[in-house]
């Protein structure tokens, strides 16, 4: 029941699209378009919660192969229609949210593992494959990609490459750019770029890195060849508690600089540690049935009352002064003897830094529930609050400065806690979780924007980077100029070279009247 009459795209264009992908692979149905009008950006969830729907795209298409993508891109280019490549829409910055109509190109029908080269430890897979499906398939063959973002159940390979994602085990296995060997990209002029599947050559380096992190603004990534690891043969778990944050940070710095590569290295700041009872996380038994409909009345009450009561600075001040200890979680995996030695050495380093050995259970427990945190979003939103995460990074000697500066900036508007992970010999990333509320949708959105502005301004001032692995999207585009440190002209030159018409995911990555905005159209409001 495709309703061509409702489409706001020219009839001839729609006919051409049907000619390219077939009747079954496009939709202009409102129910479909509505489903594609948001990703997991908190701001969009708040809007949806209040019944506010944003302007949808004009069409969704599901190309089945790279030739169809090519033809669609050429069509979009000829007719100057915005194109938004999409994997699983799990981004938290609005990267796949349509701002100026256009066609959403959902790549999930391109989900094949094209080739697994067991000798060279390489796999070529199409961009639309969902992470967990991909990883399980590799496991069956004795491999692992080593990429475990907490969205692995609901994010795609193309999305990973386009946003520069990082997984929970990145301290050992690296980030997505460490995994990519070559890419297949459809350029805005319709040509296919295939960088070469060979170990590090310089033009590959440039070309790959033009598209890794381009967030759909420079082309459509349709496939990637990635390097693999052997599925680990051993795994070790270790927990520690430090008397304060500083000692904990020293411990992880020393570990990384001693050339240890724990798969997981997570240090929780005192506030976060306080909430998880200093390393003792209670294991709630799973209820037999989904009995969520109970206590509905209480929820309604909570929603009404809490926003009036909520002043984050009070609990923040209490927690920040009261909570002192910092919890550390370590997981090692790989060759058994190497795991054993790394584990041993890590323990020594932590003890030296004043840590108390809490055994393997805290880490084992985290491992078991490592995707659990994302599920708490539902609970929090249902209670009338909103949560979000702000993740930044810097070098070691600036880390505490960055942490305290940003904490201070966020504190008046939201409950704030953090953990440190994705550690490097040179520095580390900080992952802030914030929770706040407001009395009306307008209040909430205003507070939301304030939190982010304060946080990112503080971050830029303190020399941190805008985003460690979530990307820019719409949310952080305003700060890209500062972040780029003067290299923006290169970014703009890239855009002008590759996408002179500005049809690729307009309004993302860079803000203002730059070439990243839709040519001739207003720059999208934040």
């Amino acid at each position: 029941m495709k309703s061509i009459a409702h489409s706001s795209l020219p009839k001839a264009v729609v006919q051409e699209i049907i000619g390219i992908v077939g009747e079954d692979n496009f939709s202009v149905m409102p129910v479909q378009l509505t489903s594609y009008s948001r990703d997991i950006w908190t701001r969009k969830t708040l809007e949806m919660q209040a019944g506010k729907l944003s302007e949808p795209a004009q069409m969704v298409v599901w190309p089945e192969n790279v030739e169809q993508v090519q033809a669609l891109v050429r069509l979009g280019s000829e007719n100057e229609i915005p194109l938004i490549p999409l994997g699983a829409a799990s981004g938290v910055c609005g990267g796949t949210v349509p701002l100026t109509g256009g066609i959403i190109m959902d790549l999930k029908k391109m989900d094949k593992i094209r080739n697994l080269d067991q000798e060279s430890f390489l796999v070529e897979a199409e961009a639309g494959i969902i992470g967990e499906v991909f990883e399980r398939e590799l496991n069956h063959q004795g491999f692992t990609l080593g990429h475990f973002p907490s969205s692995i159940y609901c994010s795609s390979l193309g999305g990973w490459v386009a946003t520069r994602s990082a997984g929970q085990l990145s301290s050992k296995y690296g980030k997505i750019e460490d995994m990519v060997v070559s890419l297949e990209v459809v350029l805005p002029d319709g040509q296919i770029l295939r960088t070469r599947t060979v170990p590090a050559v310089s033009t590959n380096l440039s070309l790959n890195h033009i598209f890794i992190g381009s967030e759909g603004t420079l082309g459509i990534i349709t496939a990637a060849t990635l390097r693999l690891w052997e599925y680990p043969r051993a795994r070790a778990f270790q927990g520690f508690v430090f008397p304060d944050l500083h000692n904990g940070l020293e411990a992880i710095r020393n570990m990384m600089q001693a050339e240890l590569r724990p798969a997981v290295i997570r240090l929780y700041d005192p506030v976060d540690t306080y909430f998880s009872s200093q390393g003792i996380i209670e294991e709630k038994p799973k209820p037999k049935k989904a009995g969520l409909s109970a206590k509905r009345g209480l929820i309604h009450l909570a929603r009404k009352v809490l926003p009036w009561l909520y002043t984050p600075s009070l609990p923040n001040r209490f927690l920040q002064s009261r909570a002192k200890k910092s919890k550390l979680i370590l997981v090692f995996e790989g060759e058994p003897e190497i795991v054993e030695m790394e584990h041993k050495q890590a323990k020594e380093i932590c003890l030296q830094a004043g840590g108390i050995d809490t055994g393997e259970w805290p880490a084992k427990n985290w491992w078991k529930h490592r995707y659990k945190v994302s599920y708490t979003m539902s609970k929090v939103f249902d209670l009338g609050f909103f949560v979000d995460t702000i993740e930044v990074a810097t070098l070691w000697d600036n880390l505490e400065n960055l942490y305290y500066t940003m904490q201070k900036a966020i504190t008046k508007n939201a409950l704030v806690m953090a953990h440190f992970s994705h550690a490097y010999p040179q520095g580390c990333s900080i992952y802030f979780s914030i929770a706040a509320t407001g009395r009306t949708l307008e209040d909430r959105l205003k507070r939301y924007d304030e939190i982010w502005a304060d946080a990112l301004n503080a971050c830029m001032q303190a020399g941190g980077t805008l985003s460690h692995h979530h990307g820019i999207g719409i949310l952080k585009a305003k700060w890209m100029e500062v972040e780029a440190g003067g290299a923006n002209p290169l970014l703009f030159a890239l855009k002008r070279t590759i996408d002179p018409k500005g049809i690729m995911n307009p309004g993302k990555l860079c803000a203002g009247r730059s070439v990243f905005a839709r040519n001739g159209l207003k720059s999208p409001a934040q």
Partner: protein
Amino acid sequence: MNDLLKKYEREIEYCSYCPKLCRFSCPVAKVTCSEASTPTGKMTILKLAKDGVIEFNAEVAELLYQCSGCILSRTYCEHNIEVIGAFEAGRAIAVEKGVAPKRVLEFGTAFQKSGNPYGESFGKNLTELAGKSVCEKEKGRALIFSGCTMAHYFPQTLKDLVRVLEHLNFSFNLLSEDDICCGYPLFALGLWKTLEEHKQRLAQKITGYDQIISVCPTCVWFLKTHYLKSGLIKVGEIQHTTEFILERLGQLKLRDKISERIVYHDPCHLGRYLGIYDQPREILKWMSVNGFKEFYESRERSECCGGGGGLALSHPRIAREISRHKILQFQQLGGQILATACPMCERMLGRSGKEAGIKVRDLISLLAERIE
């Protein structure tokens, strides 16, 4: 409308706020590749319709039927949400409003006439198939509830079951009339008014037994939850054949054991709905020389055949694709017999398996072939 959905209000809210972690497991979303088809997508649309943000129209309705009720998403949900509940309520609303898919409404009308989904008159055939073993109600304390799917597609399985029961010297009665459907299709498709009438009729015919046994886990589950629990019928115990057989394994004598490579498929209604994972496995292990293989995802993580939730009627192409995915996995595993314990699974996988020359058999049939 809100009355029917009130029970699921919290679940609907939760799902709409969630970063859709369960989406990779949804068989429908895997086939359509649409964000709208994911559990989160469907729940969000339902929320928007419930809240009046969008109109509850035919489009919304059509989306709500895109679910086989496999509840694999529950396995990957920290809140243990079973999305099918909300969708079934939504479908009932759709039927009430007259915006449900035409096929569904027509199905309801046909069912009302014949008392079963297939418009067949089963009565005589079943009794003939069962042979002499069928006894009068007064004498027998146990009722064999064949269910419409088995009766329509696999009457041979009834014969196999009878054979096994004879081997066990077990006396039973057989419900062999046209009202042979437990009513689940009506429930799943939102035809709740038609369902109520049907339930009243059927309840009279099946109440009073010590035991009801069925090859179909859907019937077992539905009879338990919609008839027994509400007190509509008074029955001692409702069992799936695998439970029944396992209790009596010692009494069975096999002529020989299965030597082929078996792969076992967990039916959603037997596994995630009834929690029966071990019994069929015990039976299979006992019946085979080399044991059996599991699918890559099994038990709580087992993937659907596409047959439940009325999907095979409302979206036959999607249902078929889902079953093909299972067949592909079976081929990758190098299996020779795909064993299951549900007539609907046997139907869906059998049909897709036929294209690939694959044998799909119910445990009961495998057993019947080998008892002395």
